[in-house]
């Protein structure tokens, strides 16, 4: 077994964050079954090491652009679990006042720019955020998360080119979980080497084991530093896997159970927990303590969402345009 990547406390914190996302989403699935959460719900279960490794490796004033599979990123960015939960309950206390739901979490305070349900839709946005930083002389990184399915969209290629051409501080984080809905990577890409695509735009690219939270963290720290100081884009491909179906509507008939099981063997949460157990003082009680912390937060989030008021229907039209036009 490999040595622990970090000191005991830091490893425990990584486990705690992965557990937090895992339990949060398991609960979401359950609440979906109860009809409390509706719409499309895309779970990140299995992929937690990517967000847990990458998001906290950014600075507080960096920006994050994500997809519809973004609960984990949102939690890690610091959006309170209670306002995320309330959003999914469609309540007025939700981070988007019930307008967005699971696929559209936004938070200005943490520079979390969504929550985008158009595949590839976030990439040009990230390019623009970085352009604004560059033009205004700010040393910030815009981290853009997207699935490998997005790589087929024109928006991906146009964004790669712009970011490289204008030398913009974007950290492209491709979460390659091998399937875009039911379409496997090799059934949708003539060139399945995603790093090569980025490199063809002269963007430095690295492939990272997305099931290894420390590898993700180290790669992101290094890449973000490079983007920040070098003022140019970097592309990271995280190899990962989603355990659950694409969404709550997906019968998941396009992959073999053995394949799913094989990836589960490498599950990031178990891997690091077992490593901790084997190598330092960390036992069932310690783990249970994490479970308790996580479940307290979760219970509180659900109670908050339940107790919150729905948006008044009279406010249906708010926030389409600014309430008042600027004085000219």
């Amino acid at each position: 077994m490999n040595p622990l990547p970090y000191a005991r406390e830091q490893c425990i914190e990584l486990v705690r964050q992965m557990l937090r996302i895992r339990r949060f989403e398991e609960t979401c699935a359950q609440l979906y079954g109860e009809g409390k959460i509706r719409g499309f719900l895309h779970l990140y279960i299995g992929e937690e090491a990517v967000a847990v490794g990458a998001v906290p490796a950014l600075h507080a004033d960096d920006a994050v652009v994500a997809t519809y599979r973004e609960h984990g990123h949102a939690l890690l960015r610091g959006i309170p679990a209670r306002t995320i939960m309330a959003e999914m309950f469609g309540k007025s206390t939700g981070c988007c006042r019930g307008r967005g739901g699971s696929m559209h979490l936004f938070d200005a305070a943490t520079r979390f720019y969504g929550g985008n349900a158009i595949v590839g839709g976030g990439l040009p946005l990230a390019v623009g955020l970085a352009l604004a930083d560059r033009m205004q002389g700010r040393q910030r990184v815009t981290a853009c998360f997207f699935g490998e399915g997005a790589v087929a969209e024109g928006a991906f290629h146009e964004s790669m080119n712009l970011a490289a051409l204008w030398q913009l501080p974007v950290l492209f984080c491709c979460e390659n979980n091998l399937y875009a809905m039911g379409t496997a990577l090799d059934r949708s890409e003539s060139q399945t080497d995603l790093c090569l695509k980025a490199e063809s735009y002269k963007i430095p690219a690295r492939r990272v084991d997305g099931m290894d939270v420390a590898a993700v963290r180290e790669a992101t720290l290094a890449a973000a530093a490079e983007v920040r100081s070098g003022q140019r884009p970097v592309f990271l491909e995280f190899r990962t896997y989603r355990y659950r179906a694409h969404s709550m509507f997906d019968p998941d008939l396009y992959r073999r159970k053995e394949e799913i099981d094989a990836w589960k063997q490498r599950g990031p949460l178990h891997a690091l927990t077992n490593q901790l157990r084997a190598q330092v003082v960390f036992d069932e009680t310690d783990f249970q303590q994490l479970e308790d912390q996580v479940s307290t937060e979760l219970r509180e989030a659900i109670a908050f969402a339940e107790a919150s008021a729905p948006e008044p229907v009279s406010d249906l039209h708010r926030d389409v345009r600014a309430a008042a036009r600027p004085k000219t």
Partner: protein, 333 residues
């Protein structure tokens, strides 16, 4: 003997018939094959017709819609599925700038026999990037024929007729209709065309004009109005471009009042176009100004109660109909 069949299954039967009858027909789109279609319309077709004719595409709407245009130019009869009208915006360029314009700008030398199917509409709490009704955007464009099958018969039989056209046809399938089950008569094909609207319910007091996903709530409202002694005529547009002015006009000449129910936003909607045409063509037949009931002018919100409030509902249709008839007192039941 009538068979009970869902809208989804009727659509699949239509695809199957087209693939069997015409070797030039093939289906392509995201997850139409192995996954079975995002709304399960094409489920089982890959096994039956193989990967050449049930063609999974990468996520590249502009690319594969454009490829559909090229394949049509090359002698095939492609059916392209786009998951949802919101995603069709990524392909709008190919549809408007090429498919719709090619016959005209080539001086009649080229034409594009392409059928594009897509889901549309709200009602499932999918929020602002999956729920819109943009049929009118397509109906705005010369060179396209735009269809909105709202019944089992139309779902089953419009596709084949669309494939007989020598120019592009856009077919909108409202996501709320897929699970509707209704009887289908063996000779239903005879009742389907892609030129005229259909009167789904006869009535003398006012005309309710609607299409697509708004047909069921409009018919429900008409039934309740009947219980209140108001006989509404319900017109299902079916063909959103070109509009069948004649049938609408005839109905107005009988009822003298019109309410248009349209899930699009009101500004610049099909409802606006129809209203203008009634004004132009039947103004002196009207006993009251034409009324419109459309979606609230907001990106469709996620929360159930907000989404419901944004969309026309049987209750609001009844209310608008009664107002049109000058009956504004509170109604119960």
């Amino acid at each position: 003997m009538n068979t009970m069949i869902s809208y989804r299954d009727a659509m699949r039967e239509a695809l199957r018939e087209a693939l069997q009858r015409d070797a030039r027909v093939f289906l392509m789109g995201e997850d139409v094959g192995m996954y079975g279609g995002s709304y399960a319309v094409s489920k089982g077709l890959l096994e039956e017709f193989g990967a050449q004719r049930i063609r999974d595409t990468p996520l590249s709407e502009l690319g594969f819609v454009g490829a559909g245009i090229g394949a049509a130019l090359g002698g095939l009869r492609p059916i392209v599925e786009i998951m949802t009208v919101n995603f069709s915006l990524l392909a709008l360029d190919q549809l408007v700038n090429t498919a719709a314009a090619l016959r005209h700008m080539s001086g009649g030398q080229f034409h594009v026999p392409l059928v594009v199917r897509m889901a549309t509409g709200a009602g499932r709490q999918l929020a602002a990037q999956h729920s819109h009704s943009l049929e009118g955007w397509y109906a705005h464009v010369p060179g396209l024929r735009v269809l909105a099958p709202a019944t089992i018969e139309d779902a089953r039989h419009m596709l084949w007729l669309a494939l007989q056209e020598d120019d592009p046809v856009i077919l909108f399938e409202h996501a709320q209709l897929y699970n509707v089950v209704a009887p289908l008569a063996p000779d239903a094909a005879a009742t389907v065309d892609i030129e005229r609207c259909r009167i789904r319910r006869a009535g003398r007091d006012l005309t309710l004009v609607t299409f697509g996903g708004m047909l069921p709530p409009t018919l429900a409202a008409a039934e309740q109005l009947a219980q209140q002694g108001i006989e509404a005529e319900v017109i299902d547009l079916r063909v959103l471009r070109p509009l069948d002015d004649a049938t609408i006009g005839e109905s107005i000449r009988r009822t003298h009042r019109a309410l248009i129910i349209d899930e699009e936003w009101r500004s610049g909607s099909l409802a606006a176009e129809i209203s203008a045409r009634i004004m132009e063509q039947a103004f002196y037949e009207l006993d009251a100004p034409v009324q419109r009931l459309c979606s609230a002018e907001v990106p469709i919100p996620y929360a159930k109660h907000l989404e419901a409030a944004a969309l026309p509902q049987p209750a609001t249709i009844i209310e608008a109909a009664r107002r049109l008839l000058g009956k504004q007192e509170a109604v119960t039941g």
